[in-house]
Subunit: 775 residues, 2 copies
C-alpha cells in the first residue's frame, strides 16, 4: 500500500469522529494486510524497509537506495546510520534489491545478495545518486511504487523495467518485466551490503550449476564478526551468457592465465565479486528470479527453495504470503477512531511481526555460535535479538499474542547460551554471532517474563540457570565490579549508571523467575542485587549519578547531557526514572508521590536544547517531547509511572499525545528507530490501554486506550475484548475501567486474567477523573 | 631414524656385498619402520618433510624451519619453492610444528596450526634465522634430532625443551618436556603457513572452550582457493592464562573498547591471529598437546580426537602408529644388496604411503567441492591428488599393493567429479578444491588402469562416463582446440605439445577402459583421439614440435630448451619420447628400432647446458643424467623404451644407475621432488625389476632389479615373489627372466599374472645378454 490515501479515506477523515459501524463497512472492502503500510518509517530515522517479507521470515527482500561506505578515510561515516535498512525515502535512485534487512535498528549489517535488472551496456558499479547514469542504479518515483506486507513493486525508470518482489520465509521472489532487448542483464553484486566496510566481505563463493541455477555463499565480517549466508538463485529463463568482475587480489593459482575464468566459467570465488547474467527479452516479458538462503549450506538453500517454492509463479506465491499476513495481523481485530489510527495500528502489528527472524533450514538445521551445525529438534530457531529494545514491550506482546513463537525464541536463546563460549544468553545476537550491542543482560528479562507469565514449554530450571550464568560473567562489561561493589564504577567501565540500573532490573527479573519456580536461594541473591540501583542515586541532586571505584560520586555532572555522563543513549534525567522493578520505592526515594508527579510533569514540558543530544545516535528532535525521549527506549515505561503517584490521570493525555505525535502515517511517520518492533509494541499496548512496565511481573499498568474496540484472539482459544465507551478524539481521559463488568480499583491488571479471555471496558470522557486509582 | 648409521651398519657396508642370510639376521633386530628414513629428501629439492604421519594420514605434524613469504614487493619469491614441505635440512632454526604438509610436491600450500613451545619473555613473531633471538623460533641441531615413520623429536636449544611428535590419522600429538619455568608458553600461530601470501588467511576462528581445550578453524585462499580446516586442540595440563595478538583490521563491533578481549577472553577471530597459552612447569615436566583436524567442523575435529586418542599417553599412541607403519611397509619384505638400498627401498615405501591423504571425519563426513558436507558411505575419502605425477607409477603401484585404497581413491575422484561444477575428475585437487596445477586429465588414466586391471568395486560404467565428461570440457586448457583440430595450437594455449601428447595418452587410457567394459563407441572415439600425438610430430626435425592454429609448425624451435617452446617442465627432446600408449609406432615414426636405440643412448650421454633448464622449477642438475631428466616426471618411462628397440639390454645399467644416483641415503638423497610418492613408486617398481610404462595396460615392462629378493604380500592373499640369482653390485645385467620357472620370451609381464601370485626370477650377470627379448 502506498502512503497516498484514496479519496474515500480522505472523506472519512474529513468527518473526523466516525463510528464502529462505519469502520466495519469499510473493513468489508479491505483485507487487513492492506491497512499495514511498509512505507511508514522509511524516511528519516524510522529505519524500516519497504520491501517484502513474510511474518518473521528469514528473507527481507527490499530495495536499497544507496550503498554508503561505513568509513571514509578510515573514519566512521555518520551518514551510514541513515541506511540501516538500506532505503531512504527521500532518495531518488534504487541501487538494487537485496535479501536481508533489519527492521528499524539503530545499528546495522546484512544487505546480502543485491540483485538488479538492467538493460543496455553492462555496468557493474552502482554509480552515484547525483549521476545515476554512471552506474547500474536506476531512477525511480514514489508514484510508481507500491508496498504492502509481502509485496513491493517499483518502476525502474532508467531501464523501463517493472520490478516486483515477494518473499516466503526463506525465498525471495523477484519478477522483472523487461522491455524488448538483446542486452538485458540481471546483476548479482556480492560486494553490496549495509554498513559496508571496505573489507567487510571476507569471502564469496559462487557456482553456476547450470543456465538457470546458481549457488554459493557470502561470508562477512561486519556487525556480526563471523557470518556466512548461503544461497541458491534460480531463473525462470535460461541466461545466454554470464561472467563476473573481481575487485580484489585473491588468487586462483592453478590458472596462471591458462584459461579464461571470467566469462562463462562456472566456478567463481573471491572477496569482491560482481556477477552478471545476460538475456534476450521480448517487450513485456517477465523473468522471475528466486533466491533462497540458508545458515548452513548451499544444499540447504536449495532444499529451502524446493520446499517453499516448488513451482514458478510470482502471483500465487505473493497471494499465499499475503494470506499469511492476514492471519497474523488478524490476531487483533481493531476498530479505530480514523483510518490513520487503523493504518498505524496494523503497521505497528506488521513491524512487530518482522522479527526476530527464522534462522534454520526447512530441516531444522542451523549454524550455531560455535560455528557447528545444530538441529532445532522441537522448536523454530530464531535470530536477530535486539534485546535492549525488545525486552521492554515486544517480547511481553509476544507472550500475549504470539506465545508459541515467544517460547521458541526463548528456546533459541537457550540454544545460544548452550553454544556460547561465555555461557551467556544473547545480548544483541544475529546470525550465530554475538555483537554485544548495548548493555544489560535483558535475555534474562525475556526468559523471566515468560516463566512468570506461565508461557513455558522449555525447561524452566535450566532457563533460570542460563540467566544466573549470564549474570555472573565477571569479564562482561563492568559486571565483575557490579558484583563486587554493587555498582559499576564509571572510572572502570563507561555508561556505568545505565549498566547498574539495567543490571539491577534484570536481577529483579531473574529473582521473579526464581520465585515462580521455587528457587529460594536464587530469589534471595538476586532480590538483593535488584536493589543495587540505590547505590547510584545521589540524594543531593535527586538524580542517578555515576560513582567512581572509591565510592565517591563523579564530580562533573550534568543531568541533561547525554554525552559522557555515565549513561548510554540517554541523560540522567531520563535514566534516573529507570527502576521499573520498584517504582514505589524509587518515587519515595525521589521525594514522594506528589513531588515526583510534578517532577514527571516537568519532563514533558521542559526544554532540552539540541546540544544535549545532538550527535547521539538514536535520539533526534522528532522523538522528543520536552525532555521525554520517546524515540529511544529507556523512557518507554515513564509515562506509566504516574500510576504510582497521586495523579494517575496525568498519563492519559500524554499517552494520547505520544500515540499521535510519535506514530503517524507517511514515510516519516515514526519518531525514532522502530527498533525491531519495540516502538511498535509500545504503540499496540498503549493503544489497547495497558502496558508492561516491568516485564517479569504479571502486572500491566493501565493507561488510556486509543482504539475504539479491539478483539485479541489468543492462541489458547480465548478472546480478550478491549471495548471503549464514549471514545473520541477529545474523550481521551479514562473515567472508569471494568474487567468483565467489574470495576478496577487499582491501575493494573494481571496477564493471567487477560489470558482467560474477557472484556476490558474503558469508559472515556473529556475531562480527567482525578480520583481514579488514587490510593 | 636419523641418517647417522650405527657402527654395525658401517661394518656391514664395509664388507660390501652381503648375503640374504646376513640381512635376515640383521632384520631380526630391527623393525621395518626403522629402515625408513623420513630425513631423506629434506635437503635441497626433495621437498619431503621429516615429521610424523600415519599411513595416508590427514595429519602431517612436522617442523617448519622457516616461514618464507610467497611474494616480496608484489613479486613471486623464488625462495618459497625451497619450503614446499616447510623444512629445509640446512637451516639452523625451527619456527614451530605445523600439522599439514604435502610430501615432495613441486608447488605447495598448507602448514596449518603452527604450534611452538617456548620459555621466557613472550614472543609472538617468529624472528629470523639470522637473529633467532628476535622471535619465538629456536636453534636446533641435527645431532639432537630423530625421525622415523610416525615419530619425530628434536631439542629446542633456545628453550631447553625437548619436543616429540607423533600422529594418528587425524590427530597430531605433541610432547614437550620443559625446564622449570614460571613463564612457559605454548604458541598457536594461525598466521603461519606454507606458500604464505600476505592475505592467504581469509579468516580464523578460535574458542577457548575451557582451560585445556580450544576449537576453531583456519580458512585460506592459497593454492586451494577456498579452503577451511577445522581443529580441536587439547592440553594435558590446564593453562594458567592465555591471550592473543591480532595483526589485521577485522572488526568486532560490539566491543567498541568496552571490555578487554585480548586476555583471557575466550572468543577470538580475525585474519591474523597469534594465540598463546601460559604455564608453570617443573624441571623435566612434560606437557602433551593433541591437535585434531576435520574438513567439516570443530565438532568433527573433537569427535576425531575422542575416537582416535581417547586417552592421554604419547608413548602408547606413538607405538600404535609405528605398528601401523610396520604393517604397511611389511607388504613388501625385501632383501637388499646393502643397508642403503634397504633404507632407500623402505623410505620409498614410506613416501609412497604418505598420500593421497584421508579426507573425512571418523563418521565419514567431509566437505566437497561444492562446499556442502557429504557422507562417504562405503569408502574412505581421500584428497591431495597430484595426478600429473602419480598416475604414472604411484597409482599403478597401489593397484598392486594397496588395491583397496586405490579403489577408494577412485571413489573419491568420482565423488569429486560428481561435486565438480565442471563435471570433471580431479586435475590436481586438495581439500575440496581444484587447483588446476599442470596439464592433462590423468584421473582418467588412474580410473582406466584400475578398470583394465580389474581392481574395481565402483560402478565402472559411471566411472567411464566421468572420464568421457572430463575429456570433453571445451573451455579446459586448450581442450576445445584439441577436439576440433586434433592438437592444441601454441598460439591459442601454451605448452601446447605437452598437452596434446598427454591428452592423447589419456584418451588411449579411456579407450582401454571402454574396451574392457565393452563400450565400443567410446573405445572407437578415444582410440582415434589417442593418435593425436602424430599431429605434433615434425618429421623434418624428428621431434615433437608446436603447431599454430593455421596448422603450420611454429618457426622458432629449440628442442633442448625448456622455456617457451610449447612444453611444460621439459624440453622437446624428452617430451618427444612421450607416447607411452604406442612406443612401437612412435619408434617407427622416429626412424625405427635401431636408430631410435642410438637416439635414446644419446639422451643419457649428451650434455645439457644449465641455461636450458635453469629457472625451470622441478628440474635441477641433481636430477639430470645427460639430457635425461629423472628429477621430473615426463621421462619416467623413457629408460624402459629400450624394450621396444633391438637392444632391450641397454636399459639395465641405466636403471641401476638411476636407482643408485637419483636415490641415496641422507637428507639430500633425492634427485628431485618426490612428488607425493611418484619418484618413490618409480624406485620401488624399478627395484623389483618391472615398470608400468603405460597405465591402462595390463603390461609391465621388464627392467633390471636392484633387490636381492622381495616378497610382495598381496591383498588377495597371494604372494608375489621376486627372486634373483647372482644379484650383485656388478651383476646388473639380466640374463634370463622366469615366471613360475618358465622363461619369459618378451620383456613384459601382465598384472593379472602377478596378482595370481608366483615367482618372478631374474638371473643376473656381469655382462649384457644382448639377445634377451630381441624380437
Amino acid at each position: 500500500m502506498t502512503n497516498m490515501m484514496n479519496f474515500k479515506q480522505q472523506i472519512v477523515l474529513f468527518f473526523g469522529v466516525i463510528t464502529t459501524l462505519q469502520l466495519n463497512a469499510q473493513e468489508a472492502t479491505k483485507q487487513l494486510y492492506e491497512y499495514a503500510d511498509p512505507m511508514i518509517g522509511t524516511a528519516k530515522m524510522g529505519h524500516t524497509y519497504p520491501g517484502a517479507s513474510s511474518p518473521f521470515g528469514s528473507i527481507q527482500l527490499s530495495p536499497d537506495t544507496d550503498t554508503i561506505p561505513f568509513a571514509v578515510d578510515g573514519h566512521y561515516n555518520p551518514d551510514v546510520y541513515k541506511y540501516c535498512a538500506g532505503y531512504q525515502y527521500d532518495d531518488s535512485t534504487i541501487v538494487g534489491f537485496s535479501h536481508t534487512h533489519f527492521s528499524g535498528t539503530g545499528h546495522s549489517d546484512l544487505g546480502d545478495f543485491l540483485v538488479m535488472p538492467t538493460v543496455g551496456a553492462l555496468q557493474l558499479n552502482p554509480g552515484t545518486e547525483a549521476e545515476p547514469d554512471s552506474g547500474y542504479r536506476s531512477r525511480f518515483s514514489h508514484e510508481d511504487e507500491e508496498a504492502s506486507p509481502g509485496y513491493y513493486s517499483v518502476a525502474l525508470k532508467d531501464y523501463n523495467i517493472k520490478a516486483e518482489l515477494t518473499a516466503t520465509t526463506r525465498v525471495g521472489v523477484h519478477k522483472y518485466t523487461f522491455p524488448k532487448a538483446d542486452n538485458a542483464h540481471i546483476l548479482l553484486d556480492l560486494t553490496a551490503g549495509i554498513y559496508n566496510y571496505d573489507d567487510k566481505n571476507v569471502w564469496t563463493f559462487l557456482r553456476v550449476e547450470n543456465d538457470t541455477l546458481i549457488t554459493g555463499y557470502r561470508q562477512t565480517n561486519g556487525w556480526a564478526r563471523t557470518r556466512t549466508v548461503y544461497f541458491a538463485m534460480a531463473f525462470s529463463k535460461p541466461f545466454k551468457n554470464y561472467g563476473y568482475a573481481k575487485a580484489d587480489k585473491s588468487v586462483y593459482n592453478g590458472f596462471w592465465g591458462r584459461f579464461d575464468q571470467t566469462h562463462n566459467f562456472p566456478e567463481i570465488a573471491g572477496k569482491k565479486i560482481k556477477a552478471y547474467f545476460d538475456f534476450d527479452t521480448e517487450e513485456g516479458e517477465a523473468v522471475e528470479v528466486k533466491l533462497s538462503i540458508s545458515p548452513v549450506s548451499a544444499a540447504g538453500a536449495l532444499a529451502n527453495m524446493k520446499v517453499e517454492t516448488p513451482k514458478w509463479g510470482f502471483e500465487a506465491i505473493k497471494t499465499k504470503v499475503q494470506q499469511q499476513w492476514n492471519k497474523e495481523l488478524g490476531k487483533i481485530q481493531v476498530a479505530s477512531l480514523n483510518e490513520s489510527d487503523k493504518t498505524n495500528f496494523y503497521t505497528a502489528m506488521y513491524h512487530a511481526f518482522l522479527g526476530p527472524t527464522v534462522y534454520m533450514d526447512v530441516d531444522g538445521n542451523y549454524k550455531g555460535l560455535d560455528m557447528n551445525v545444530h538441529q532445532a529438534d522441537d522448536f523454530v530457531n530464531y535470530t536477530s535479538f535486539s534485546l535492549w529494545d525488545t525486552y521492554r514491550a515486544l517480547h511481553p506482546f509476544f507472550n500475549l499474542v504470539q506465545p508459541k513463537r515467544n517460547r521458541d525464541m526463548i528456546k533459541s536463546m537457550l540454544a545460544h547460551q548452550n553454544q556460547s563460549v561465555h555461557h551467556m544468553l544473547p545480548i544483541w545476537s544475529h546470525y550465530a554471532n554475538e555483537n554485544w550491542c548495548m548493555i544489560g543482560y535483558h535475555s534474562a528479562s525475556v526468559v523471566a517474563d515468560a516463566i512468570v507469565k506461565g508461557n513455558v514449554d522449555f525447561d524452566a530450571e535450566k532457563a533460570l540457570e542460563a540467566c544466573v550464568a549470564t549474570a555472573n560473567v565477571s569479564y562482561f562489561d563492568g559486571l565483575g565490579y557490579y558484583k563486587e561493589l554493587g555498582f559499576v564504577p564509571e572510572d572502570k567501565s563507561g555508561a556505568s549508571v545505565s549498566k547498574t540500573l539495567e543490571y539491577a532490573y534484570d536481577d529483579w527479573a531473574i529473582a521473579q523467575a526464581a520465585k515462580k519456580i521455587g528457587n529460594e536461594q536464587v530469589y534471595t541473591t538476586f532480590m538483593k542485587r535488584a536493589e543495587n540501583y540505590k547505590h547510584v542515586f545521589d540524594a543531593n541532586t535527586g538524580f542517578m549519578r555515576p560513582k567512581l571505584s572509591d565510592g565517591s560520586f563523579k564530580k562533573e555532572f550534568d543531568p541533561l547531557n547525554t554525552h559522557g555522563q555515565g549513561f548510554i543513549e540517554g541523560n540522567s534525567w531520563n535514566y534516573s526514572l529507570y527502576v521499573p522493578q520498584d517504582p514505589a520505592e524509587m518515587i519515595e526515594m525521589m521525594g514522594g508521590k506528589h513531588t515526583f508527579s510534578e517532577h514527571l510533569d516537568s519532563l514533558f514540558t521542559m526544554e532540552l536544547p539540541d546540544k544535549y543530544f545532538e550527535k547521539t545516535e538514536d535520539i533526534s528532535r522528532d522523538g522528543i517531547i520536552g525532555n521525554y525521549v520517546h524515540g529511544n527506549e529507556p523512557s518507554h515505561h515513564v509515562v506509566y509511572l504516574y500510576n504510582w503517584t497521586d495523579t494517575p490521570w496525568k498519563s492519559n493525555d500524554k499517552i494520547r499525545n505520544v500515540l499521535r505525535t510519535m506514530y503517524k502515517t507517511g514515510a516519516d511517520g515514526l519518531g525514532g528507530n522502530d527498533d525491531f518492533g519495540q516502538m511498535s509494541a509500545w504503540y499496540i499496548f498503549s493503544s489497547l490501554g495497558f502496558y508492561p512496565v516491568a516485564p517479569g511481573s504479571e502486572d500491566y499498568a493501565i493507561g488510556s486506550p486509543l482504539v475504539v474496540d479491539a478483539k485479541v484472539y489468543l492462541e489458547n482459544g480465548n478472546m480478550l475484548h478491549v471495548e471503549t465507551k464514549k471514545q473520541s478524539e477529545k474523550n481521551k481521559y479514562v473515567q472508569k475501567v471494568l474487567w468483565n463488568g467489574k470495576k478496577l480499583d487499582v491501575p493494573s491488571i494481571k496477564h493471567s486474567n487477560l489470558m482467560q479471555g474477557g472484556t476490558l471496558t474503558f469508559i472515556m470522557g473529556r475531562k480527567p477523573n482525578k480520583s481514579l486509582f488514587v490510593q
